[in-house]
Symmetry: C3
Subunit: 621 residues, 3 copies
């Protein structure tokens, strides 16, 4: 089990480094990420390298028994690079060329940036490929920079030519016949830049796909280079979640040796716990059974946007163990030591500003001890899958949809949250995945759906699977074009319904069975399905055809749980987080009350407030 | 009676076209607007035309008995045009040059754009001027694009030179002595571009006047060209209402053969009905007795900004008939068939995504039948006029006014709404219009007023007319300069008051007679008028001098109705929309309850919930 | 006692000027500021001057007995200047070059602007240095324009080189090791321009310091030039308060002969009174015992942002006398006559639009008479000081702090407000000032604190002083770097506490003694201090060590007053504003009720609602 964090010795005088290693030993740290933001220090002027300090750091860490996840520093080019290559700075959709003075000031498509990235990566690999501390490569940091410059435009066109072959196919896919946007030459095609009125949703969608691939190309080039030096060592990069990140992590996961995520919940308390479970399940699903890491989290603090809220006693431990329970093979933090200055001087550290003589560092040591005692391997048991598709998410962010309140992430989080509070650990699956292993598959507002993926869902139901589809799913094809003849297009047959009209709501509507719908409703005709609940006018609101359920409105959490019960899932109230990983059950009591669960051998097991317990699963699998 | 919508066959494969014509026949459609966004299809590369598809469409429509309102496609230049003429793309006040990827990406003052517009219009006229389907020309679409580039600056200066002759006159009109803005050469004068602090309100006002005229010049050039081919056919363009449109439609109405408006209410239910009556009365008043058309509306749906709200059963019909009652000679929609892709793929169509087998298309057919049975001509009876002046509206949008809450449109809507709910159909009149035919003239917050127009109002009162003026009217001259010596400047004599101070409110104030004022108050001295109601300190709040009333505060709707009663108007509660057009009364029950009205011959006539009835007026006029 | 306002005769025809002088005499006006925005009129084209009109105005004023505060017009260059020197227009952080059309459209670092400024100032000095009306020079207006262009970048680098000497020192001070921002050459350093993510807080802080100094350099150059003509005449500029002004007035005050402030309260009623006292105390403190002026205020009106709220009867007088009581030797307004046109046509004037026959002008005359009867000199008595530091304010505006709700100005205003309502007149002192004269020193959220200044505070407490420090003070050094080892860094010893964690709150927390904390809390360890009040868990919330109090949370006004009582201050409720200046007591009843105070000789003195009374202080000092 890995334990550690980002370590940025370049921020500190050399005399601190020895204290760092000693404190790491005290805390049980065995892996640190070094060099993420060290480019300016490693290459203070073009082609001039200074590795002496890093040599010392690597040696010190090795002597202290700490392994190194060595980073290429390409997420933050030095100021000299910006001056030398102004065309490699990112440009906004409005045409503003951003400048250095923060991190991520690069255009991923700019040739000088690509070249400089490879040069520094090669220099690092040449220097450290045989260093005994080196355990892993960490490429870049939180890929997600957008740019709209002419380099990007050229790369976008190249990507589109590969995707569409002929311009006619692009015109067809993007419906450029609308508003006279027909392209007659490739050079007319641009990224979605500032324009007069509503943009083209298919163009926007393809641009996000392109950006994800373009950034991925930057990653794989470095990965392949590093692998040529150290074929035996894993290469990773840290995924960061959030709807501002234009990256399809599901796709990227196939290219990293180890999936690694950064996770910063958006709120304290229950919100943090729910989001932690969500993130961990996503990471495990992306990893597809391989090991994965929690690469970054904040020690002792949750950032709500408005303020930094302190985690309560033990919460840092419980949040970490949540990830381990759900499959993580390592728990790391950003960063080891809280910075004295710079843009993130108030970001938490494992060693806070107050120093090691602090409650927080005490908890960090306690967590280290707990992890070193934890043996966890084997698969995490999950009977239910949520369909997850980044492209559908992006498409649901189009400006012209029937309601501004449509929110893919909110729909996913609700489904996951309801499962979480009723005892289910969930996987996230791609719409194209083999779903046969799942007892049930939930499909929250999957706007975009290809024919092939729709057929996959139909096969799953055909084979006896339970499918729970929420409103506004399957209505568009992979080019974000509406499927005609009745919604929900690609899913009409499997659901046995035909929706004639979409009717977004601005208030609640009462359904039968005491349910309440909000946000959305539809005019649903039964074509093979039967009604499960109805709108006030008697029209079907929720329907069922064999194992396939359709929800034409948004329910509250209790209502969604009710539907899952109708679909045959056991939905016991679960105040304690209980996750089985391999032969071990992780029981985490995030609450302020004691709770009793079915312990080892089935007997009652008491969990004190805040307690974490691991015990053998009742039966082997 | 025209019936139809925008028809965009270029979005669909040819096999759909025949079905379209068949469905149009079923629905009773007799006029469609073709080609609004077809430039890229008609002229796929510079100077290369492809009319074959349009030939087919025109022939098919003609064979099907559907007439064509043929559009010039100049509102949406093709991508090739942007690449060839980057200087013809619009520039924001901040200097961002917008690009293609949406509609309206042109600078109306750019010579290449003007030339390209005329070329495509000429090509269309040459091709189709003798086509038997051609019934009307539709120039451009929803004129309203702003630009701040150097082409615009040059044109603005030319416009100003014509308006002011000498630079000294401009300096005087704009009060450039304030903040050292005195111009010593014409080339120093620019559009209002991003600047350090508050802009010059007179410059901003003249820029909007210029923009309206500049766009109008683009229209009249095309109109004259088309007329040279088909002198007998009407030429129009579709007006679109909203405070973001920099166009003076009252002025434009004199240049079109047929006034045509697009109308999209901002809210469902009563809001939609009130806004529909308002829009129709505006269009009729702009048309000045000539026929006019509802050129665009949405079938079955209201866009609130936040969401698309479904119209209830029959509402699409009732909304349409509202316009016919108020003088429309045609009812059309955007668009015939809901788009599959593109920026407005979720905009409603007469044929929805679900296809003709739908409630909505059924209602479209029902409306077609109703319209073909409807014979309506003759004038719409209106006893009351509201003064309407786009320039006063623009001036009331200046940033430095005494209250941010001043809202010209809100003031107009309130006055119209109160009349609507109390049985009055209203005209909108320019301040310079002959007002002698009206029983009463309402003047909501007419900030800007010229001497000549003020004299017109005085003559109206002199001749026995009833004038109801609301606060902050007449205080500025036509250059947006404050009239000195006491407010409301140009109206002091006719109203018999002198206002010493303006006192915007941040809460309500109680007046005598149980009235309540909000938003605004004034320190009013009587100079010939008498007080009708008073503020708590006894000072006059509403005054009267002969037939001229002055409201120095904002009343609620009931209060405003009370004042109109004092002014001698009958103000019966009118739950049903009752409008007399020529010899026909249109009775529309927009409510969910039955109502009884005075029917033909004066006897009671029952209107079921949602019912529309037409019957002969009791007496001819 | 000076009385008057900004006089802009260039806005009016010559025939108005004589009436102006007559009205000034009637009102008792004896000083007007002329020429602030006259550049375009004085120099209508480059190098061509027209002084004839100003000659006439100066002569007329002199004949009327009105002295002139003659302004250099450099705050508003004419349009011809923008066209001639586009590189002297200001550029936003996003790179937008602003243009003329408002005031302040200049880049203070652009050589052509510097040269043009000196030329017009010299021309004015040559023309009028011996004019008998000339009493004072007024350089520029409300310095505060930001620019991010290359001229500014060059000047910023020069400033940094002087400050830091070597680039290594800058890298250290700015912690550029974070996020790879290490500079290897001076030309890499730029102003904080638009970048990809969070900016560097130390760079931002130094840029504000630089901007203040750079603008000051523009002032002192003109000042020295004017002094060379008229060594005997005072030179000033008008300070304007607000967090958008990048100027350190405390520093600037040392360079003006007379401190002059513009004051526009943000709300009516009590808010205006509290802000007036705050502004006047700041001005007096900046002046450091020298005379100062209220150079601008609005007659009869308060601007809330949303609307202009009328001052009640006598309020204009009371607001003015508040400033006199607190040390002002003059009361002026912007502007003499309300403008007819231009961006501020709705800004109040001493002569309103309605003309001199108005309540407002009557009050202006009444104020003039009162001032001419007022003899006020001598120091204003103040026992308490608030620490004030513009740099700490700027640093507390950094984007990455632990709470978005930290608000330096709010903290200062609260402390001042509480003193105001409990009978204390306060000084504002720099952290480096000699504090020995004060009974107590309050330190609201002084984020930034140098070692030297911390030592100054320690000496003050050592000598028996009372120090009341609020949360998040002293945590950062002068480079905005966090002090390590425990908060509040520089103040740990004097306060006797060590804070381990900062815990921003999103709701209230109950303290002992019936107090309530909001916004912020901390984990405080006592290291020499004792607890005064505690959090619910018993941990210290407010502490005391000798005379030094520490508040680790935000209290409401009553709670803050309670603490000041614990600190030994008498805190009587004071419904009337009572200020002693020299041998005179100013008693101002801002309320609607009569109040009785201790009058001359100690006997009761009744103040009617709204009354202002001056009387001899009980004992001489």
């Amino acid at each position: 089990m890995f334990y550690g964090g980002d370590y940025n010795p370049e921020q500190w005088p050399e005399e601190v480094w020895k204290e760092d290693v000693a404190l790491m030993r005290r805390a049980g740290v065995n892996l640190v990420t070094v060099g993420v933001f060290s480019w300016a220090r490693l290459e203070p002027s073009p082609g001039v390298y200074d590795f002496t300090w890093l040599d010392t750091v690597m040696d010190l860490l090795h002597e202290g028994g700490v392994q190194v996840d060595l980073a290429t520093p390409t997420a933050s080019p030095p100021p000299w690079f910006s001056l030398l290559h102004p065309d490699a700075l990112p440009v906004t959709a409005e045409g503003t060329r951003l400048t250095h003075g923060s991190r991520d000031t690069y255009c991923v498509s700019a040739p000088p940036y690509r070249q400089a990235s490879m040069s520094i990566a090669r220099a690092l690999a040449e220097r450290y490929h045989a260093h005994p501390a080196l355990a892993m490569w960490h490429v870049h940091n939180e890929y997600g920079t957008r740019c709209h410059c002419d380099h990007v435009a050229a790369a976008f066109r190249q990507w589109l030519e590969i995707r569409y072959g002929a311009l006619a196919a692009l015109n067809e896919a993007w419906t450029t016949a609308f508003w006279s946007q027909g392209y007659s030459a490739w050079e007319q095609v641009t990224p979605p830049r500032a324009t007069q009125y509503l943009p083209n949703p298919s163009q926007a969608l393809d641009f996000r796909r392109f950006l994800s691939d373009e950034l991925l190309g930057h990653f794989t080039a470095q990965r392949d280079l590093l692998k040529s030096f150290t074929p035996h060592l894993p290469v990773t990069t840290n995924f960061v979640f959030g709807d501002w990140v234009p990256v399809n992590h599901q796709r990227w996961a196939r290219e990293v040796d180890v999936v690694a995520i950064d996770h910063y919940p958006s709120g304290p308390g229950t919100t943090a716990v729910e989001e932690g479970a969500f993130a961990a399940d996503l990471a495990r699903s992306w990893a597809g059974g391989r090991p994965w890491l929690l690469m970054e989290q904040a020690a002792g603090v949750v950032y709500t946007g408005a303020r930094m809220v302190a985690k309560r006693e033990g919460e840092t431990i419980r949040h970490s163990m949540q990830h381990v329970a759900r499959g993580a093979d390592g728990v790391l933090f950003f960063q080891w030591r809280a910075s004295r200055g710079g843009a993130e001087q108030w970001h938490a550290g494992m060693v806070p500003h107050a120093g090691p003589s602090s409650r927080l560092f005490g908890e960090i040591c306690e967590l280290g001890a707990l992890l070193s005692d934890t043996e966890a391997d084997g698969e995490v048991a999950a009977e239910v899958a949520l369909l997850w598709d980044a492209e559908a998410w992006w498409a649901l962010g189009s400006p012209g949809l029937p309601s501004l309140e449509l929110d893919y992430l909110d729909a996913l989080r609700q489904a996951h949250r309801v499962l979480y509070h009723h005892g289910h650990t969930a996987d996230f699956a791609a719409p194209s995945a083999d779903l046969s292993r799942y007892r049930a598959v939930l499909v929250p507002s999957l706007y975009l759906l290809s024919d092939a993926d729709a057929a996959n869902l139909a096969r799953y139901v055909e084979a006896g699977g339970t499918l729970v589809v929420s409103f506004f799913s399957g209505v568009a094809d992979e080019h974000a074009r509406v499927r005609l003849g009745g919604y929900p297009g690609a899913l009409r047959d499997v659901l046995g319904v035909r929706v004639e009209e979409l009717r977004p709501l601005d208030g609640p509507v009462s359904l039968t069975h005491g349910l309440t719908g909000t946000l959305w409703s539809e005019v649903v005709h039964l074509e093979g399905a039967t009604a499960v609940t109805a709108y006030p006018d008697g029209a079907p609101a929720i329907t069922r055809r064999r194992g396939a359920f359709y929800l034409s409105t948004r329910l509250d959490d209790a209502g969604y749980a009710w539907v899952l019960r109708q679909a045959g899932l056991a939905m016991p109230d679960s105040p304690v987080e209980l996750v089985r990983r391999g032969d071990t059950v992780f029981a985490i009591n995030h609450t302020d009350l004691p709770h009793t669960v079915a312990g080892p051998g089935g007997g009652p097991l008491r969990l004190e407030p805040g307690q974490v317990r691991l015990y053998p699963a009742q039966t082997s699998r």
